[in-house]
């Protein structure tokens, strides 16, 4: 008898706990809002976890934002409850022209949206390749999309993983905007591969454009260098 009791008590307790947990808890959000930040249908290259979008939902007492971080390939996703949200592109946050118009989003099940933005500059036709065994050459065109802000610099970044940007890198070479006299001509950046990467069988490289007065840069997609 004792043996049966002692065997069953933990099981009963566990059952009680499981039931108890379930009883008065909220359902977790089951829908997903996902999408990408685009210009002319192309996703925009960004710094990993650098740019944030905000979701706001009216009608609740606690009126606070839901931050949504954009990944480096321009995609984002958030787990949400079904409902009507407003999606805000934070002013001065991404490498694009401020547009504080909110986007109405109705989340119902898995919802996919594109967030259109108007960048100041875009990277076009980025080609990065090894020149010999110790040098790297990047060539790309700068596409000017919006007026109003000056080109501050362009930079070539290298790193061990595909997450490579101004913060995550093992080396970089920057060219000042003032040294680029004609932005319609493709820009070439040369770099000596840092010692920490010369022994690697492969690494990643990426180019970026920095607009004056904008914290975040706009990037090409990372290129695997073998």
């Amino acid at each position: 008898m004792n043996r049966i009791l002692s065997l069953h008590i933990p099981a009963l307790l566990l059952l009680a706990l499981v039931i108890g947990c379930k009883k008065d808890n909220y359902e977790k959000p089951s829908s997903t809002l996902s999408g990408k930040v685009v210009y002319e249908k192309d996703a925009i290259g960004l710094r990993s976890n650098g740019v944030q979008l905000e979701l706001w939902q009216k009608g609740f007492e606690l009126f606070t934002k839901i931050p949504v971080y954009v990944a480096q390939d321009g995609t984002f996703s958030a787990s949400l409850f079904d409902g009507a949200y407003k999606l805000v592109r934070l002013p001065g946050n991404g490498p694009w022209v401020n547009n504080t118009d909110s986007i109405d989003v109705t989340v119902s099940g898995n919802t996919v949206i594109d967030v259109p933005v108007q960048p100041y500059f875009v990277v076009r036709n980025a080609a990065i390749s090894k020149a010999g065994s110790t040098a790297l050459t990047a060539t790309f065109s700068i596409g000017k999309v919006s007026d109003g802000r000056a080109l501050e610099s362009v930079t070539l970044f290298v790193g061990k993983t595909s997450i490579v940007d101004a913060v995550n890198n093992l080396g970089s070479v920057a060219v000042n905007g003032a040294d680029i006299t004609d932005i319609t001509v493709p820009v070439t950046i040369n770099m000596n591969i840092p010692g920490s990467l010369t022994g690697q069988s492969f690494f990643y490289a990426r180019v970026s454009i920095k607009t004056a007065g904008v914290a975040e840069q706009i990037y090409s997609q990372p290129v695997k260098i073998e």
């Binding site: 934070l90 002013p91 001065g92 802000r149 101004a166 913060v167 093992l170 004056a212 007065g213 914290a215």
Partner: protein, 628 residues
Amino acid sequence: MKRNYIYSLMVTGLFLLTSCMKDWLDREPRTILSDEQVWNDPKQIVALLANFYDRIPAESGLTDINDGADGRLFQWRNMANYDEGMWSGQSNEDGRNNITSYGFNSWYLWNYTYIRDINLALENIEKYGVSLSATAKQQYSAELRFLRALNYFNLVKRMGGVPLVTTQLIYDYSGNVSNLQLPRAKESEVYDFIAAEVDAIKEVLGNAGSTTRANKYTALALKSRAMLYAGSLAKYNGLMAAPITMPGGEVGIPAALAESYYQKALAASKEIINGGPYTLYKNNPDAGENFYEAVTKKANNKEVIFVKDFLLPTRKHWFSYDNIARGVREDNLGSSSVVPSLNLVESFEYKDGSNGALKIRTADNSDFIYYDNVSDVFANKDARLYGTIIYPGTSFKSLAVSIQAGVMVWNSGRNAYDVVEGSDLGTTYSDGKLLTGTSGPHRSIQEVSNTGFYLRKYIDPNDKTSTRGVQSDVWWVWFRLGEIYLNAGEAAFELGLTGEALTYINALRERAGFGMNSLTSLTIARIRNERRVELAFEDHRLWDLKRWRLADKVWNGSSSNPDAMIYALYPYRVIRPGDANRDGKYVFVKMVAPRFRAPRFFQLGNYYTAIDQSVLNNNPKIIKNPFH
């Protein structure tokens, strides 16, 4: 008869009761002070002022208070958040070595409770202080206005322009609060307010000679610093590729105003230097000890202008317990929490004025430079290095601080050194001599320096002050003459008065062990470096980099940028028998501090702290700062 007796007793009782009741409802409360009592009694007013002085916020400090809503911000731990130092204490705070980016709400302050308390005090002293003398009333009011101006300075340097509230805001129960919702003032207006308040009160402040209560020169010191900030904000914001401004001027000061602000900063600084009772502290003939005493020594210190004082045995703090060098600690726990970085050590110049980078490798980088003594690599450095930092080969409290990371044993087979480090402190190598010093450095043990350096500034030199039982009463310096010299020098330089700037900067350098007139030419970079080394750990570095608009360049978040990383210097003893030129000597290895994980990352959106959503919700006239 018996009944008569009872009746008479009752009547007497009733009589007693009624007589007691007479003033029952008109008694003075015994536990509550009335406004009339408070505002007519100088002792009560001073007690209240003490509370207001105690609530002056600072990014760092010597105690551990963090109550931003009230403005009680005074946290020494934050010293480990910038490039002066890092965290080497208990590993539960290693997040300070791993700040992937400063949050947009960092340095948040919105302490209008404090401003309301001061405004209320100012109004009550006028209303109720009928039996105070006119001079006393004037003086207390001036003191309150100084504290309010200082607080607005603390607000504006963090948030940009904030609502200027100078009277109590009282709700009239009409259901309409729009008259209480004040918009943000322009950033320049807040600085102008500070200057105007200082000018209005400086002659009536009294408290001459006090270092803990505001006097004329304390107010001028505030003006000197605030006007310098305003001037450099105007100038360097304008020089940015894209200045940070808002259309209403809530942030961003027009570049055209820079000159007038610099002139005000210079004038206020000169008034202190020429008219004040202060002199640079030069009581100790040893320049390094002298600099240490200039900040920490209380007796006969003519340099400090305004301090937050502590007094044993009751008003004390834990700073020495938490930060004393490991090998000389007096308690069995604590020590070594904030340790200086090699970055800071190398910013101290050599006495001949050359770059302060330590010479640890030969010119062609093929071999170490071998030193006879572990302290020789620091020879001929700016004496302020000794006064600020405990480096290998120095002592504290008359005890040698043993700093050695391990030994380098020559391996002739490999033609290279084998690096041997101890798993514990104070260990000996197989040759019977020291392996790892009692103060480390060590790569992983907590409460041991991770950089190879320890703090000297603010650590109490007296016996047993680093124990939990005694604790320390070293004071925190808000303003001292050294800073005023630097303010004057920078303002004069920006105004093109290089000759005048040189006299101020050279005076400070002379005190630091440089020769007479050690500089003959100046650059802004040099002045900035002087500020960095003179005012290290005194809550200036962050604000200086912000106002020069350099923070996002220096702390750019890139691990390949040496300024954004915290470096360490590990000394090793060489074991190379048969090579008399090298055996038994010391070499140094520079590395990223092992416990340091993420580069410092300051974004454009950090120049002005994000205003809390609750503030925006409550007052629709408040607008957000840029980038948020």
